[in-house]
Amino acid sequence: MKSPTPAFSGLRSTDSVPRFTWAIWFLLAIHAMVAVAGFIAPYNFETQDREHPYAPPTRLHFVDCSGKIHFHPFVYVTKAAGNDLNDYQQDCAQTAGIEFLPHGDGYTILGMFSSTRHLFGVRAPANLFLMGTDGFGRDQFSRLLYGGQVSLFAGFVAAAFSVIVGLLLGGIAGMYGGKIDDAAMRFAEFFIAVPWFYLLIAVRAFLPLQISPITAFLLVVSVIGMVGWGRPARLVRGVILSARERNFVLAARGFGASNAYLLRRHLMPLTFRVLLTQMAVLIPQFILAEVILSFLGLGIGEPFPSWGNMLAQAQQYHVLVSYWWMLLPGLAPIPVFLAYHSLAETLQERIKSNI
């Protein structure tokens, strides 16, 4: 690999430093929000308000019906008007102020803390649907946060899975070369060539009915990860293949280091940055894979939300033309992807400037 000129790489790396921090902070914030979804979300993801299907986002008011200005934001109680539940009207007589830290649906955070306190909410019979509701009257905003747990987690787990498998097989292939290398790389190519989508459909169809949606989902995620290890394995192999001829490795070998030792002590650490970049590239890819799978009904099942299965509802014509807020889950992955991509790019630049 040819290293870029120092001036060039220096320019690039100073240029990318602010992006790097921006992306990291943003991703940390998103993941933290999603992790404490139960606290931030005013409702549970499966709480159905059967009087409010497809309710539009609740409007926050500072000015009431009579024109009086309030400093504390409040909402009006809404009711479906008419038979076909297409129209909601505000009742000027019933208001509810936004409360901070009210009690509501129970939740647990990271499987450790249970509570019923939420960051904000309103008292029944008023509702606070910041992004409207779906066809079951479930709060879209709450579901989007909970859905992030599924989507982001799926991307992360699948990426980690494929990177670890890629590191092991790619490392061995690069280190030992010859027939082992051939066998490992053909195997990797086979996995790159597998039409994973059909594989997933088949896996989903053969799963027994008794397993819970979460287990089924984890299985699907590991299948995505399993199939994705081919590319990282190739990359790792390339790095190791070139590094194993470098002087310090040859020197270590000369002192009697074993292959396993060399791999662990000298070669694997060299792949670290490459793998980090791969992670940053693969995570959004796998998040997208989850979104696509759920969009097609192969992801996590009801009532659990994910960005994909929330967006899947917008496949329906009537949703598409009538309820714009149902499209919001489609926007959620965009900033996450941008952040991951800029992270990957920055990592890439740093690797280049360091080599």
Partner: protein, 581 residues
């Protein structure tokens, strides 16, 4: 001389008309009572998929029925709007006192769409084909009364007698949909044993003929089927105009309902059948601007239900299901589930109030047979809990339902992934059951895989599905309700009734089939509904309204709740504005 010549020209000019009127006089035409309309124009109808065959002997899917019913005609027909029988190719019929013999007089002078005459031999030939075991016609089952076939005799060229082996209550309804085949075209194939392979989508249109209002003009596989007016059709309107009015009827393939809605909005198709309530609501606002009209024909004959697997062949083979069947077999468990389900919520959320909640499989749309004294269950969690307690269930500290051996009550609900309404129903049921401590997993799987589990492997715990009765009459339910019925879904292949109430159902269903008096038969069928509502082999949920739409200038458009909802009277449809599309 001059006068003679004028007279000659007059006669010459009139001759075709005189000849025509004479021809009409020889034909026994059926005069309809609907609004007389204008000739001409084309109509495009979208279908989910193309028909599999033009052969009425082997057709067994809705798309094929829809097209074939335009190409073919039956002896006695069920009027989709009145749900009653009316004359078709039969000019009249008489029934013997014991109700076993039907003597049908056929219309004279009727011609097939290729111009060949029709008579009793065609009827005889058609029934011979339908009843022939080797042909495997889907209609054969209908013509077997308690396993015995009906007998057909020709009395003269235009009189046929049908003899049932025993009195048969649905009587003349059996003739509906049994197309009379052209003997001159199909007899050779029948004798060669290959009638089932005839009249496919690749058969040249000229080789296909029928007695229906239209005849085949063109087939573009995967895209469209064009029918043209049959000039020999045997119906006229009150003004004496020969039907049908339309010159062309086209069926286009539009695979999804959403795509159908868009095509309908764009005016590419002029009729839309079986709209979902959601799409109905989405289209409603545009009616005026786009010049179409939507119709809500009320609850149809479709019923959606939750059903538990009560098959006994899972013992040993599928131990997990066999274990759970101890709960499923307990009627109090099923009643508790029924009491926990919010049917009103299903009607409101899934069908936007355009549906009826159900207590049994008979929807209120079936006016002649609906038992209004069976109460529609209203959600009651206390009642559900009481029933479960009585059946030995209990709850732990986390409000989780446990059975008598302390095992948590959990089961999966299979649903066909392609049907969004049933998926929604399953999700609502899941939430309802959670309220009584039952954890139900909804498992959407591909439709064919779901029906394989239902019919063959019996590898499911519960299923949300829907069925559509073919007719308002109770007779088609025989297959489902009889313990040895082919569609006795909750427990297939019972040799003897597994429970006393199934034995009673068998008895009642047999009895209604031979009870000719409507009042008595209704009483029997009312009892059937009471048993079903009490025993709940299927937990009946809701029956959606039939929602359809058509261009507003389409005349004689009378949507019905029996298939085909919108174009069952295609021969009477016409464009109000003569230059209509």
């Amino acid at each position: 001389m001059r006068l003679n010549r004028i007279l000659f020209w007059w006669v010459a000019a009139l001759l075709p008309f005189l000849a025509g009127s004479q021809a009409i006089a020889q034909e026994d035409l059926l005069r309809t009572t609907s609004e007389p309309g204008n000739r001409g124009g084309k109509l495009v109808i979208a279908q989910r998929s193309e028909p599999r065959t033009f052969n009425p002997v082997v057709a067994n899917d809705q798309n094929s029925y829809g097209v074939n019913a335009r190409l073919q005609a039956d002896l006695i027909h069920i009027n989709r709007a009145t749900q009653k029988t009316e004359l078709a190719l039969a000019k009249s019929w008489t029934v013997s006192k014991d109700g076993t013999q039907f003597t049908l007089k056929l219309r004279r002078g009727v011609r097939f769409s290729d111009g060949q005459p029709f008579d009793a031999d065609d009827v005889l030939f058609s029934f011979k084909v339908y009843l022939d075991e080797r042909v495997h016609s889907s209609q054969r089952d209908l013509l077997l009364i308690s396993g015995k076939p009906l007998k057909v005799e020709k009395l003269d060229a235009y009189t046929v007698r049908f003899t049932f082996p025993s009195p048969y209550a649905p009587a003349e309804r059996v003739f509906d949909g049994l197309a009379i085949l052209p003997r001159h075209l199909l007899e050779k194939d029948y004798q060669a044993g290959k009638i089932a392979q005839e009249w496919t989508l690749t058969t040249p249109p000229a080789q296909i003929a029928g007695l229906g209002a239209f005849r085949l003009k063109q087939v573009i596989p995967g895209d469209r089927i064009v029918l043209e007016r049959n000039p020999y059709y045997w119906k006229i309107d009150s003004k004496g105009q020969r039907l049908p009015y339309l010159d062309e009827l086209t069926f286009v393939v539009v695979p999804t309902q959403d795509a159908q809605v868009i095509r309908f909005q764009a005016g590419d198709s002029q009729i839309i059948s079986s709209l979902s309530a959601d799409n109905y609501a989405a289209l409603e606002a545009e009616q005026k601007a786009r010049h179409f009209k939507l119709y809500d024909a009320g609850p149809g004959l479709e019923y959606n239900f939750l059903m538990f697997n009560l098959n006994d062949d899972v013992e040993g083979r599928l131990p997990e299901i066999a274990r759970k069947q101890k709960w499923f077999r307990d009627v109090r468990f099923r009643q508790a589930i029924s009491a926990a389900i919010d049917r009103a919520g299903i009607v409101r959320l899934v069908y936007r109030n355009r549906a009826a909640a159900l207590a049994t499989h008979v929807s209120p749309g079936n006016k002649a047979w609906f038992n209004s004294s069976v109460p529609i269950p209203v959600r009651s969690l206390p009642h559900a809990r009481e029933l479960l307690k009585a059946a030995g269930f209990s709850w732990n500290a986390e409000n989780m339902l446990l059975d008598s051996s302390g095992q948590p009550v959990e089961f999966s609900i299979v649903v066909s992934s392609s049907n969004s309404q049933r998926n929604q129903i399953a999700t609502l049921v899941q939430a309802d059951l959670k309220a009584i401590g039952i954890s139900a997993h909804v498992v959407p799987i591909e439709g064919r895989s779901a029906s394989d589990r239902l019919l063959n492997t019996h590898d499911y715990e519960a299923i949300v599905m829907g069925l559509v009765s073919g007719d308002a009459d109770p007779a088609p339910d025989l297959n489902i309700l009889m313990s040895n019925g082919q569609s006795h879904f909750w427990h297939l292949g019972e040799k003897t009734p597994a429970t006393p109430w199934e034995a009673e159902l068998d008895q009642l269903m047999q009895k209604q089939l031979v009870t000719l008096n409507y009042q008595q038969r209704k009483k029997i069928y009312d009892r059937v509904q009471e048993i079903l509502a009490q025993q709940l082999p299927m937990i009946y949920l809701a029956s959606p309204n039939i929602l359809v739409g058509a261009q507003e200038n389409l005349g004689n458009f009378h949507p019905a709740i029996i298939e085909q909802y919108t174009f069952w009277n295609a021969e009477e449809l016409f464009w109000l504005t003569p230059a209509g599309k």
